[in-house]
Each structure stands twice: as structure tokens, then as C-alpha cells.
């Protein structure tokens, strides 16, 4: 991994470090200070001494705080998607900081609400938790626009963790994610679902009121729409999964009735693969 602080992750860069890697013949242009003079003294040949540098992981968590994340179904035990996402974010931040990785946080809805740059200090967790504590799901989402904006903002190659329900236009979203990938960021997308959104269990007449635009209401007989809804949902998820796979983005669907450990296990498994 690439990072400023040394940590558990191996850096692809060779540099000054205590961990010797190898010697190689000097070529013009190499820094003179890298020449191993002891070898020169013994062999009259110029060798460059190379060291393996251990760096910290640089990651940024993008937390969706749009209104759609505020949904809380009955089976979720009172935990809305937003709460679930906040807790997941906190866990991940804690875990990364414990590993002496740098972690940053971006909260957004239709625009970036708060940007906390990645830091590796333990005290940085407080800042992240404070921000998470203050975040509230509200207004509409503009994932594609926000991601384009953030892709331009995060220069250094890092791990980008997106925690969102990814509701919106799939094509636009995938284009935005592709831009992260183009900037050589590694990406994990935790897609947060409430169980109700996956099986549409409603039976009686229901007025669905949009969490993002409360004035948007629809009175329907859900029983008649369930099959069509589920089919539409499947198509949405299939498109997103296929797109993420195409861009080599890890998509981890999460439902709010599942324990966080599963999410963390998924994350660690992915990290292990990245090493």
C-alpha cells in the first residue's frame, strides 16, 4: 500500500528504511547518497543499496447521508440504514486507525457536506466520531455528481470506501466510480439495504412518502406491485454488480439486520487480497 505513515501494509515504493531489500549496480541519475560505500570499498564498484519501505494505508470513507439512508424497517430492530452506515463507518475507522492506517471521512448527500482528510493519529478517531455523531440523513442524493467532485479532490492513491445505498441512476454512478478507478484508487462499496427494500413485504394499501423529497407521495396497493418491484430491484442490483465487477470494484451488499462483523470480515478479506 501507498501511505505516509509506516504501518502493516507493504509499500510498493523502495526508499529509506531499515528493511534492506537488495543491491543493484549504480546507474547514472541515482542519488549519490544511495551508494553503498562499504561495497565500493571492498569491490571498487558502485552499488546502490535499496530498502523496503513500510507505509501506512491511506483510506477515505465516503458516507452517504442522503434521505434514502434514513429508512428503518421493522425487521431492522430500530436501526436505520443511516445508523447502520454510521456504525459501520466508525468500526472501519477505528479498525484502520488501530492498524495505524490513515483514515478520512466524507459525508455527502447531494453535495459534500463534510470532508475530514485522512490522518493516522489515534486522536483522529475523535474527529471522525464527532462528525458521524452529527450527521443526519436528509435531502436528495446526487451520487454521481458528488463522486466526480471527490474524485477530483482525492489526489493520492488510496482506498476509497463508499457506504451508501447507491440509489440513483446506475450508469451515472458507475461512470463516477470508474473515475475513482481511473485515479488508481482501490474501492470498496458497502451497499446498505433494509430488508424491506429487498422483499417489499407490504400488503395493505400504503402511501409511500419519499424520504428525500417528502412531498413526493404515492398511494398504491403494494400487493399488485410487489412482483414488478422485485423484478425491477433485481435488474438494478444486477446492473450495479455487473458494473462494479467490470471496474474491479468490490461491492459488498449489507442488510441492516446483519451484524457488522460480517461487513468487517468482508472488508478484511478484501484487504488480505489486496496485500
Amino acid at each position: 500500500m501507498e501511505g505516509f505513515c509506516s504501518g502493516l501494509h507493504r509499500s510498493p515504493h523502495k526508499g529509506f528504511s531499515v528493511e534492506f531489500k537488495e543491491h543493484r549496480p549504480y546507474v547514472r541519475g541515482d542519488e549519490v547518497r544511495s551508494i553503498d560505500w562499504k561495497i565500493f570499498g571492498k569491490t571498487d564498484r558502485l552499488y546502490i543499496r535499496e530498502h523496503e519501505q513500510e507505509t501506512n494505508l491511506r483510506s477515505t470513507i465516503l458516507l452517504d447521508t442522503s434521505g434514502s439512508m434514513g429508512y428503518c424497517g421493522v425487521r431492522a430492530g430500530g436501526i436505520s440504514k443511516h445508523h447502520y452506515a454510521v456504525r459501520l463507518t466508525a468500526c472501519l475507522a477505528y479498525l484502520m486507525l488501530e492498524q495505524q492506517d490513515s483514515v478520512g471521512l466524507v459525508t455527502f448527500d447531494s453535495e459534500v457536506r463534510r470532508y475530514i482528510p485522512p490522518r493516522g493519529r489515534a486522536s483522529h478517531l475523535r474527529a471522525i466520531l464527532d462528525e458521524l455523531g452529527k450527521s443526519r440523513p436528509q435531502v436528495e442524493t446526487e451520487l454521481a455528481q458528488v463522486f466526480h467532485e471527490l474524485a477530483a479532490k482525492i489526489h493520492r492513491r488510496s482506498l476509497v470506501i463508499i457506504i451508501s445505498d447507491c440509489f440513483g441512476d446506475v450508469d451515472q454512478l458507475l461512470k463516477a466510480l470508474a473515475r475513482f478507478r481511473h485515479a488508481r484508487h482501490d474501492m470498496i462499496v458497502f451497499q446498505i439495504w433494509d430488508p424491506d427494500e429487498l422483499d417489499f413485504p407490504f400488503r395493505q394499501w400504503t402511501q409511500f412518502e419519499s424520504l428525500e423529497t417528502p412531498a413526493h407521495r404515492r398511494l398504491v396497493d403494494p400487493a399488485h406491485l410487489r412482483q414488478a418491484y422485485l423484478e425491477n430491484l433485481k435488474r438494478f442490483r444486477d446492473q450495479l454488480t455487473a458494473g462494479c465487477h467490470r471496474h474491479r470494484i468490490d461491492l459488498v451488499p449489507m442488510t441492516t439486520d446483519r451484524p457488522y462483523a460480517e461487513a468487517l470480515a468482508s472488508y478484511l478479506a478484501i484487504r488480505r487480497r489486496l496485500k
Binding site: Y71, E197, Q204, L211, E212, R218, L225, A228, Y229, E231
Partner: protein, 720 residues
């Protein structure tokens, strides 16, 4: 339409329940703050219109279910046909087929018995005050009682008296008769039931025009009757019948041989190698024979018999077969055997010299045994009188009067002869040199209104001159009197030479042309015949003695005169065998038979009939001869006179209309078809009270529920 549980129909208001549920659902909805609106929106965008239509359809079905269920529980009754209260009395005509095909045994019971049983059940089930008439359709349609009656019990009793064995039904005539009776009945509800085996042969002869006429008759009736066809028949393949007995119509004397030909028919496809036939005379079996009867073929067998005693005799031929219709296995006929035939010869030119008188040859020819002093007795008994002796007494004893060269008669004698002929007598007129042509033509011919068939014209030919004699044309003779000469072994009429004869004039345009029995070579008629009243007159253009022809010298003279006279005598006698339905006519000699006579009909009943004078004789007429069989008239002399009412054997073909044809027939008549009284009762109930449709409605409820379930599932399927 009426409702038996009308109160439950208010349950139809329950249709509001699904409507209310729908409206309540819409008004008492739950609100869900939903995040995945973009998924929902796209679904709604595509499906909103469909979902709305589907919801309306489902709502309509759900509303319909309680309505139909309530309607079902209310037990609705379709009363589309009903114009009157269900218990209103009806006017009913039952056409009961009692033709002899109904004697066919089905499972040991005759179809007629079943038909009577069904009719009795139908009559018994009629509402009080109903008017009933039953028409027997066998032979000619005839009502069981003269007028419709209102007493069902009496009619039920009368039904048990219905006898079968009648001739072929004429369905069209029966329907016309039934509709005619129905038109005169009193109640506003009219029913016509035709109970029959619906035999194919009966309906095949019913033309489409007849059916169309019946249809028009039905349509023109002020109150349209309901018509029901009650079918009791099924096709029977095997049946044989004795179709008829044929024998000569010539008068038969005692101890004369009579050949009787029995015609048999096999209607089925099973061949009979040896059908045993029994020949009976007056109930006593005389002889038997066996005959092979191939499949669907006819056969004949000949029985020769002789009757030693004069009188009326019954002959019967019976085939011993085990088919299901026994009625047509026996055929009967009455054979009148005459003791003598009284013939009065009126001699217009008598002579004391042998064979010189005008009728001498004739008397010898008619009574050859008497003149030959043979032991045998002549059938014919002659009496020769002069023209002045022709009076009522002479006519009373005579079956045939022969005028031989009679110049003229008195007016009262002509009047007497007219009455004699009108009562069924026979007159044979020979010409001669003494006849007063002018008188004959004026009085006896009288421009076609008189007794004579044709007027006399001029004399032709000549005796002793150069005129060449003519011969009788030897043709095929149609008249029964001359039929025997078609066989040359019995003599040739052309052997005789006719020297002189009268040319006969033209018949009056007002009268029918007489029948020419024989002609001369010149084409002139020699013997002609015409009917006069009930009798017949034969006119011969030449003389009966040997003066104008050598006919009396020829061997054929005797059989010619015998045949002519006996045939005339038998023609004068009304037939003893006649088609059922035609009046029975018996002619009794003299007017003295004024006392009532007893008549036994085929059903064994005894009736009293009163003879009426006709001409110089007495006549008994009995018109109720619909029932085939033997009618026996017992006169004052206790000698029975048998008559047989016969029917054609068309009914013996036991192929019935199939279900398809009965259906089309019912459709044509606007009728319904049933097969039993019970079915008729159910049909009648539906006609009177309407047809209960709760079962249909219950099925409808279940169907709607199933439909609702299926649509619910169907509508919930994916449509994106």
C-alpha cells in the same frame, strides 16, 4: 323471473362490502417513508394504468360475488315462458299413437302400454279444472271422447280402454287434428303432447310443405300451444309380416275352389329358412306350409280352399315367428260365399221355339248345370220375365237384371230400375233389333243423366249380306270380368264373329267416360260399363242371342257371361274387406230387414245397427271402423256376415327416427322432446313455474371466486 326466497335477494346489497373494503383500504392506508422511491417509481410508471384497470376488474368481480350469491340463495326461477300462475288449469291434447307398431314389445311390455301409462301419469298430474282431450293417431286421428272433458279421473279410466293394432299414423294429420281441437278449448294455457314411437316410415311421407303448414297453423293460433314430443321408440331390426291376402273378387259359390295368395315380407336383415304358416278358415286350422324368407325380401305362398257352405267365412294366415311385433304376423280376410246369384232376364223377344228366344242362350250359359241336368248346382239362378213383368218384386230377388233386346220400358219401371241401381244393383243391357233407340237415348241415356252408359247410334254391319263380320280385339283385359281371358287357355274372345252391332255414341260431357271392357276390330266399343249410384250398368252393343253374332255358339260365351254376371253381382255387393276407417256397408236383400241388427267389433263390443232401405234393398252402414280386425254383423236369420277392416303394413318397418331427426323435428315444431312422463313433469314445472337457476348461479359464484383468485395471481405477475 320470480324468487322463491325473495328476502335473501337483499343480500345482494353485500356487493357494497368489497367496495367499502376497497374504499376503506384506500382511505385507511398506512404511510411509509420510503427510500427506494426510484425503484417504485419506475414500476409505477409502467404499471399504473394496468394496475388501475386490474383493480377495477377485481373490484367488479368482488362486488359481483355477493350479488350472485344472494341471487343464488334467493332461488330465482326463470319464468320466461310462463304467462299464467303455475297452478292455472290447462287445456291439453294428447296425441296417442296406437298404430300397431306400438304393439312392439320392449322388455316384455308393449310400447302402447307404456304410452298409456305415461299419458295417465301426465293426466293425473294436471291441475284441477284442466281440460283434456286424447286423440288416437293410429289410422285416422280419432278423439277418445267426442269432446274434451274436465274430469281427469274419467279420462284416466278411458285411457285404459285404448286399444292398439291400428293402421299407420299420419303424424301431420294427427298434429293438425290435435291443434284443431286445442284451438277450440277454453283455457289460456294450451299443451299438446305427442306420444309415439316416431316411426320413420310415418314421418318420411310427411312433406316439408305439410310441416310448414302445421307450423303456420301453430303460429296463427291466438294462444300458442306448448308442444312436447314424448318418444318411446327405438329401432327394431328383425320383423316379418303377413302383408296381405289376395284372392279373386269374383263372386264365389259353395264348393268352388278359391286360391288365396299370402304375401309375406321380411323387414329385417336376418334370413328365415323356414317360416311356418298356418292357414285357418273360420278359426279352424286347415293346413300349414313353410316358406323361406330371405333378409329384406318378400315371398308369396298359395293356399287353395273350398267352402262347402254358403255364407260369410273368415280366412286367416298366420306366420309363426318370434319377432317382437306379433300383430303383423297374422292377416285375415272375409270371404263371402254365395248360395246363389239371382238374375232376372228380361226377354224383349221371347219365343216358344228352343233357343229362339232372346235370352235362351243366355239362360243356358248362366245355368249350365241346370240345363245339363248335372248333379252340380249352379251359382246363378235365372228367372226370365217379359218387359211388362219387371216390377219391384222381381227386382228384390235379383242381383243382376239383364235387359235383352227390350224395346222400351214404362216410366215407373225406369224409376224402379234407378232406385234398384242406386241401392247397389247391377244392370246388363243387350241391344237387338227391337230396341227403341230413340226411347233408349232419350230416357235411359238422357244426355248422361240416365242409366245407360252411352247412347245408341246407328246399326253397323249386317246379317246375311256382304258385310264382313268383325272380331273382338284380343287385348290385355283390365276389367276383372274379362281378366280370365288374358290367359288363352280360358278361351279367346277373338274367336267370335260379330255381324251386327250398334255403334255407341259419345258420352255426355257432364258425365264421366264409361269404362270400355272390350272393343271390336273397328274400334267401336262392344262392352262398356259405368257406375250409377251404388250400382253399375254394363252395356253390350250387340245382341245376346245368335242373331247378330256367333258369340253364343262359341265356347267362350259361357265363361264370358258367367264372368260378366258374377263380377257384376260381386261388384254390386259392398266389399267385405276394406281399409280400416272406411265405412262398413252391408247390403241386405229386400226392404224387410227393418229390425235392428247386432254388430260385434274387433274389441268384442256389441253394437246395434239399424238397416235403412236403399232402393229395393236394405243397407247397414257402420262408420266406426278405425280399429282393424273382424266386424261381424248378425242378421235376423242368425247368419253372421263377416267384414275385415285391414291396414297397410307400412308400420311393420320398425325403423324409428333417430335422436337427431327428433331434435330437428322438435326444432321445426318449436317443441321439446322428452322420453317419459317424469321428464315431461319436470319440463312442465319449468314451463309453469320457470326454471330454477340456483345451481347455475352457484356455479357462477364459484366461477367468480376462482376467477378472482386466478386474476389476483395473474395480475400480481411481473409486468415491467
Amino acid at each position: 323471473m320470480t324468487l322463491l326466497n325473495g328476502i335473501l335477494a337483499f343480500g345482494a346489497a353485500a356487493f357494497a362490502i368489497p367496495l367499502l373494503i376497497h374504499l376503506l383500504n384506500r382511505s385507511r392506508f398506512r404511510t411509509v417513508s420510503w427510500g427506494a422511491m426510484h425503484l417504485l417509481e419506475s414500476v409505477l410508471r409502467v404499471n399504473q394504468r394496468r394496475v388501475r384497470i386490474e383493480q377495477i376488474i377485481l373490484l367488479l368481480i368482488r362486488c359481483a360475488i355477493p350479488i350472485v350469491l344472494a341471487f343464488c340463495l334467493a332461488r330465482p326461477v326463470l319464468t320466461g315462458w310462463r304467462a299464467l300462475p303455475g297452478d292455472a288449469p290447462t287445456s291439453m291434447v294428447i296425441l296417442l299413437d296406437n298404430s300397431y307398431s306400438m304393439d312392439t314389445a320392449d322388455n316384455g311390455h308393449a310400447r302402447l302400454a307404456k304410452a298409456i301409462d305415461h299419458a295417465a301419469q301426465i293426466v293425473a298430474a294436471l291441475p284441477r279444472g284442466s281440460e283434456i282431450s286424447i286423440v288416437r293417431t293410429g289410422g285416422e286421428p280419432s278423439p277418445l271422447l267426442e269432446r274434451p272433458i274436465f274430469d281427469a279421473k274419467t279420462m284416466a279410466r278411458q285411457l285404459q280402454q285404448v286399444r292398439g293394432g291400428y293402421g299407420a299414423s299420419d303424424p301431420a294429420k294427427a298434429l293438425e287434428s290435435g291443434l284443431g281441437i286445442l284451438a277450440g278449448m277454453s283455457h289460456a294455457r294450451r299443451d299438446l303432447i305427442f306420444i309415439s314411437d316416431f316411426q320413420q316410415s310415418d314421418w318420411d311421407v310427411t312433406t316439408p310443405d305439410r310441416m310448414a303448414k302445421i307450423r303456420r297453423q301453430i303460429d296463427s293460433m291466438p294462444i300458442r300451444p306448448t308442444i312436447t314430443l314424448l318418444d318411446l321408440g327405438d329401432t327394431v331390426e328383425e320383423n316379418i309380416s303377413v302383408d296381405s291376402l289376395e284372392f279373386s273378387a269374383r263372386a264365389l259359390g259353395a264348393n268352388e275352389d278359391l286360391q288365396i295368395r299370402a304375401n309375406l315380407r321380411n323387414h329385417g336383415s336376418k334370413a328365415y329358412d323356414a317360416v311356418r304358416l298356418r292357414f285357418q278358415i273360420d278359426g279352424a286350422e286347415q293346413t300349414g306350409s313353410q316358406i323361406a324368407l330371405p333378409a329384406k325380401a318378400t315371398a308369396q305362398t298359395l293356399f287353395t280352399c273350398r267352402f262347402p257352405v254358403a255364407g260369410s267365412h273368415l280366412v286367416a294366415v298366420e306366420a309363426a315367428a318370434d319377432d317382437r311385433l306379433a300383430t303383423d304376423n297374422r292377416c285375415e280376410a272375409a270371404v263371402p260365399v254365395l248360395d246363389r246369384i239371382g238374375v232376372v232376364l228380361v226377354d224383349g223377344a221371347p219365343s216358344n221355339q228352343p233357343l229362339e228366344g232372346e235370352t235362351d242362350f243366355l239362360a243356358v250359359a248362366l245355368t249350365p248345370y241346370t240345363y245339363g241336368r248335372a248333379k252340380l248346382s249352379d251359382l246363378i239362378e235365372t228367372k226370365t220375365i217379359s218387359p211388362g213383368e219387371l216390377d219391384e218384386k222381381a227386382l228384390t230377388e235379383a242381383r243382376v237384371i239383364i235387359l235383352a233386346n227390350v224395346p222400351k220400358l214404362k216410366d215407373e219401371q225406369v224409376e224402379l230400375l234407378s232406385r234398384y241401381l242406386g241401392g247397389g244393383g247391377s244392370l246388363l243391357v243387350f241391344s237387338g233389333n227391337k230396341i227403341d233407340i230413340a226411347w233408349y237415348n232419350k230416357v235411359l241415356f238422357s244426355d248422361g243423366a240416365g242409366l245407360l252408359p252411352l247412347p245408341w247410334n246407328e246399326v253397323a254391319g249386317g246379317v246375311g249380306g256382304e258385310e264382313k263380320p268383325l272380331r273382338i280385339v284380343s287385348q290385355h283385359f283390365e276389367h276383372p270380368a274379362l281378366e280370365i281371358f288374358n290367359n288363352r287357355e280360358n278361351g279367346n274372345l277373338a274367336d267370335a264373329e260379330i255381324h251386327k252391332w250398334y255403334r255407341l255414341g259419345q258420352a255426355s260431357p257432364n258425365a264421366a267416360d264409361p269404362f270400355v271392357l272390350a272393343r271390336l276390330e273397328s274400334g267401336d266399343p262392344l262392352i262398356v260399363q259405368r257406375q250409377f249410384g251404388e250400382g253399375s250398368v254394363v252395356q253390350v252393343a250387340t245382341a245376346c242371342d245368335a242373331e247378330w253374332s256367333n258369340l253364343p255358339m262359341r265356347p267362350i260365351y259361357l265363361p264370358l257371361m258367367q264372368q260378366l254376371v258374377t263380377t257384376m253381382a260381386s261388384e254390386a255387393t259392398p266389399p267385405s274387406n276394406f281399409p280400416a276407417g272406411q265405412p262398413l256397408v252391408a247390403v241386405l236383400p229386400g226392404q224387410s230387414q227393418a229390425s235392428p241388427l247386432g254388430l260385434t267389433t274387433p274389441d268384442g263390443a256389441r253394437h246395434t245397427v239399424q238397416p235403412v232401405p236403399r232402393g229395393t234393398q236394405s243397407v247397414v252402414e257402420y262408420a266406426q271402423t278405425q280399429e282393424p280386425g273382424v266386424y261381424t254383423l248378425v242378421g235376423a236369420d242368425a247368419q253372421p256376415l263377416h267384414f275385415v277392416a285391414q291396414v297397410s303394413r307400412t308400420e311393420s318397418d320398425l325403423r324409428m327416427l333417430d335422436a337427431t331427426r327428433i331434435q330437428s323435428l322438435a326444432a321445426e315444431l318449436g317443441a321439446d322432446g322428452v322420453s317419459s312422463a317424469a321428464e315431461y313433469s319436470a319440463l312442465d314445472r319449468s314451463r309453469r313455474h320457470g326454471r330454477e337457476i340456483w345451481r347455475v348461479l352457484l356455479a357462477g359464484v364459484l366461477g367468480l371466486m376462482f376467477l378472482e383468485l386466478a386474476l389476483e395471481q395473474r395480475f400480481a405477475r411481473v409486468r415491467t
